[in-house]
């Protein structure tokens, strides 16, 4: 008996040594632009994956294809073999294998003996991040498409249906679609999606729909978003996307849009983060119609709003172009033209944007641009 007890004791001590090693992951994960994936893929399908893969070794999984968006129509209704190559270095995965399962929209490349696939995300990706999750069902009537429709419209329809079916749980792939990536497909279906979402009974979907419409420059969507902002607070992530769309992508010079931005930036009842993104959009646009609003911001108690006022008026006076994503990358929005109606050595010397430059010597900039506005407002019609 004593011997048996002893053995039990030994077993208890050694059990922890048999503990299985978990998986740890770090690092960036970046979505591939949908337009890039569309152009690069030899086939795009709605399908359901099955199989088991080894992380650090090439393998293959089967994909049951329901619909073909791009590529040979003959693979619809069949099961194809898709080759898998071990991805990024960010994952440490000592385990033997992992399940390759999931239903959604897959991007495929032709490969010797079958297909390989283009993951929709790169970096430290796991298998579930490599496709757009979508239900294996027929499309809603609003998104039905013909076999001869352009690939962009077909894909937009599949993505739109998937987004409408999304329950809002964390999906990396969808999170990143609402920063202008969907619009880059240049499909009218995306506008349909945005309008349907904006009219949804779900507040979360409303925010996403308005986000898309605002990226498209829709002034009435901007007005609705501003008016409804207090009701969006429960959906912080989606509201954050919407604010970012206003700040970085909304560049409409429509008078109604300018008025909404200007009134929002000035409003003491609006949320401060909303006021700041409206002010930033105004400063980026900096047409003459924005100037009265930007000038008012020079007296704001909020330092960031004053910074936007200084930057926007300075950009106008120096004849700088409207800042957009395209000329931000090229720095074109910061290149002084040779001549400008209001551009002088003084306006160039007092030009600054952003808090880093302006807050280091705010009075220098603030006093100049206040005086400049008083000297020039009449000639500008204000």
């Amino acid at each position: 008996m004593a011997t048996i007890d002893s053995r039990i004791g030994i077993l208890a001590l050694t059990m922890p040594l048999l503990a299985a090693v978990p998986t740890a992951k770090a690092g960036p994960v970046a979505m591939q632009p949908v337009a890039f994936l569309t152009g690069s893929a030899d086939a795009i399908v709605l399908g359901s994956a099955a199989g088991t893969l080894q992380f650090q070794a090439p393998g293959a999984f089967s994909l049951q294809v329901l619909r073909v968006v791009k590529g040979p129509a003959s693979i619809a209704g069949t099961t194809i073999l898709v080759q898998w190559a071990p991805p990024s270095p960010g994952i440490v995965w000592p385990g033997a294998g992992f399940p390759a399962t999931g239903a959604g929209i897959w991007f495929l490349k032709g490969a010797a003996g079958g297909w390989s696939f283009l993951p929709v995300a790169q970096g430290s990706v796991t298998f579930d991040m490599t496709y757009f999750p979508a239900p294996m069902t027929s499309l809603p009537g609003a998104y039905a498409y013909s076999a001869t429709a352009p690939v962009q419209d077909k894909l937009a329809s599949e993505l739109a249906a998937a987004i409408e079916a999304w329950d809002g749980s964390f999906k990396l792939q969808f999170d990143d679609l609402f920063s202008g990536d969907l619009e880059d497909l240049k499909s009218p279906v995306i506008h349909t999606l945005d309008e349907r979402l904006a009219a949804s009974s779900s507040v979360r979907q409303q925010v996403l729909g308005l986000d898309g419409l605002i990226i498209g420059g829709d002034a009435s969507a901007l007005a609705k978003a501003v008016a409804s902002d207090a009701s969006f607070s429960k959906y912080g992530l989606e509201r954050g996307m919407l604010l970012h769309a206003i700040r970085e992508l909304f560049r409409s010079t429509d008078p109604a849009a300018i008025a909404t931005l200007g009134q929002t930036a000035q409003s003491t009842s609006a949320a401060l983060d909303l006021r700041r993104v409206a002010a930033h959009a105004l400063a980026a646009i900096h047409t003459s119609a924005t100037l009265p609003y930007l000038a008012t911001l020079l007296d704001s108690p909020d330092a960031i709003l004053r910074v936007e006022g200084i930057g926007g008026i300075g950009a106008f006076a120096n004849s700088l172009p409207t800042q957009t994503p395209a000329n931000t990358a090229s720095l074109g929005y910061l290149q002084f033209p040779a001549k400008g109606v209001y551009k002088t050595e003084d306006t160039m010397a007092h030009f600054a944007m952003g808090p880093k430059a302006i807050e280091s010597n705010e009075s220098f900039y603030l006093s100049f641009w206040k005086a400049w506005w008083q000297q020039n407002r009449a000639s500008l019609g204000f």
């Binding site: 299985a20 090693v21 998986t23 960036p28 994960v29 931000t328 430059a357």
Partner: protein, 231 residues
């Protein structure tokens, strides 16, 4: 793929003057600065050596011709990735089950990256480097979680993500847990941490590029964190 060019070619316009011009550069002692490939020549290659102090044109360049004629200044701003802001409602903690029967989490951080002028930057390579790992979980026995490896990626959009994740079986030490559902609070059992953790923009080569974040990354049993929201 977008690169931040640190060089530019400048050509003097003689505008009726003759001879070879001389270039004069007024750098900002605490801000932007450039060096030129030649200083008495018609065309020169400018290489930025430091970024501007802020979003203003703090480098002035002139050319002077042998007859004494001097050009109007060319004002130069040297822009750079400058700050990151954590997007609203991040980090997002979600369940990550890498194998059937396991539990685990993935904590996603998403930042916006801004240039000196406060505008969002898109289309940049990103890489991370790790510092020193310290094991926090040592009792009743030391953790058997492997250290993760550093990653890199090209980001086409404005948002720059980082994941901290772990998944494992119930007999791992300690067993990774799914993030609790709010309003249940996140756990406080630490496993290991790494400092300094760096995030660089402009390259996928580890340690190359402009540092845009540095902090401590902490792995807990049911979530992961970065110590600083903004930088």
């Amino acid at each position: 793929m977008l690169l931040y060019y640190a060089q530019a070619s400048w050509t003097a316009n003689a505008n009726g003057h003759s001879g070879t011009p001389t270039w004069t550069v007024e750098n900002n002692p605490v801000g932007g600065s450039v060096t030129l490939s030649c200083y008495t020549c018609s065309t020169t290659e400018a290489t930025s050596t430091t970024a501007s102090a802020g979003c203003n044109h703090d480098v002035a360049v002139y050319v002077t011709y042998p007859d004494g004629a001097q050009s109007a200044p060319l004002y130069v701003l040297i822009n750079t990735p400058a700050s990151t802001t954590l997007q609203a409602n991040y980090p997002q903690n979600s369940t990550w089950i890498s194998q059937p029967g396991w539990n685990g989490y993935q904590s996603k951080y998403q930042w916006y990256l801004f240039d000196l002028c406060g505008n969002g930057l898109e289309g940049l390579d990103i890489n991370e480097t790790f510092g020193n790992w310290t094991i926090d979980y040592t009792y009743p026995q030391q953790t058997n979680w492997p250290f993760p490896k550093a990653g890199s990626a090209y980001f086409a959009g404005y948002d720059f993500d980082d994941f901290l994740a772990a998944s494992g079986p119930s007999n791992a030490v300690p067993p990774p847990q799914n993030p609790p559902q709010p309003p249940q609070p996140l756990g406080d059992t630490t496993v290991y941490h790494d400092t300094p953790w760096y995030y660089f923009a402009g390259s996928q080569s580890f340690g190359s590029g402009v540092p845009i974040r540095v902090d401590t990354q902490q792995y807990y049993q049911d979530h992961g964190t970065h110590s600083l929201a903004n930088w």
